[in-house]
């Protein structure tokens, strides 16, 4: 089949292009066996936490935009989100999941963003 890449930097950062672990992407679409159910649950829980994190961050950015937050609140929010981001990375590392693994299709929930 023809090459599907139309344009990309020649020194593409490998992390940027890392594909989903196909096993994970597919295990939630096909009747999962008991062993992968637990893994799938962790994946799902972290996906939802990540979704909530993004929702909250976006809402905070909107409030900063319209000026309803004090400097102190912005600082506190930013620190919290940084901490949350750092913590999410740790959790992902702990469970051997990368960012694309937490990009599950949550159907109507996923469209909140």
């Amino acid at each position: 089949m023809k090459d599907k890449v139309l344009a990309a930097p020649s020194d593409l950062d490998p992390l940027a292009s890392k594909g989903p672990r196909l096993e994970d992407a597919l295990s939630r679409r096909i009747n999962a066996d008991p062993e992968s159910v637990e893994r799938g649950l962790v994946q799902l829980v972290l996906t939802i936490v990540e979704l909530l994190r993004q929702l909250m961050e976006r809402q905070a950015l909107r409030r900063i935009d319209i000026g309803t937050l004090s400097e102190e609140q912005v600082e506190r929010l930013g620190t919290t989100f940084m901490e949350l981001d750092r913590r999410m990375q740790e959790l992902r590392d702990e469970f051997g999941l990368d960012e694309e693994d937490l990009n599950l299709d949550l159907g109507p929930l996923g469209r909140l963003l």
Binding site: L6, D13, A16, L22, G78
Partner: protein
């Protein structure tokens, strides 16, 4: 079981092992169900099938793994939505989908790692959102339709582009890449119009 592969209003017969099932003015293109555990190769093979179909017809690709019992079930499922599906088909007529993902380069000053304070972090996030919007808006001006898909990147966009305008679109992506040294713009395609196929719930 039958796998539903694509929906079209083209009347020409697909090449075996594909079959056409008539559904109230539309044609459902089906394949024998492959119930073995799929891997990257089988996904690519499926994609090749759809793209071969697309070379000579406009179509709506169906989500992978859609299995139905038999022709009657296919005719009922597709026929039941024929009005809405015909409308979607019209919206993608003569066009293909191009994917563009925008990611921070690790070294980029915009990546979250370099935030010195909470306020700095929020400022960086706001800038990232702004840049994603600028790039998406720019590319949308040369597409018939566009949407963003959720993903870990700064932006994950899908663009419905006229079949004859793909090169122009890619040139636009390259110019944006040249203007954005801190970012990786990854452009792939042409794809069948997966992101513009289902009006329901989009």
């Amino acid at each position: 079981m039958i796998q539903l592969v694509a929906i079209t209003d083209d009347q020409s017969a697909p090449a075996p092992p594909l079959r056409a099932v008539a559904c109230d003015g539309l044609t459902a293109i089906c394949a024998p169900a492959d119930e073995s555990r799929p891997d990257a190769d089988s996904l690519w093979r499926h994609e090749e099938l759809v793209e071969a179909l697309m070379e000579t017809r406009d179509l709506l690709p169906v989500r992978y793994g859609t299995l139905l019992a038999d022709d009657a079930a296919v005719a009922q499922a597709v026929g039941g939505r024929s009005g809405q599906l015909a409308g979607q088909l019209e919206r993608v007529r003569g066009a293909v989908e191009i994917a563009v993902r925008v990611a921070d380069r690790a070294s980029s000053p915009l990546s979250g790692q370099s935030a010195a304070s909470g306020t700095d972090y929020m400022r960086l996030q706001a800038e990232r959102v702004r840049i994603a919007r600028v790039i998406h808006d720019e590319l949308s001006t040369v597409a018939r339709d566009s949407t963003t898909r959720p993903g870990p990147e700064l932006m994950r966009g899908a663009y419905l582009v006229e079949r004859g305008s793909v090169d122009d679109f890619v040139a636009r992506v390259r110019r944006l890449q040249d203007a954005s040294p801190g970012l990786d713009l990854i452009c792939t395609g042409p794809w069948p119009p997966y992101s513009f196929a289902d009006g329901e719930g989009s």
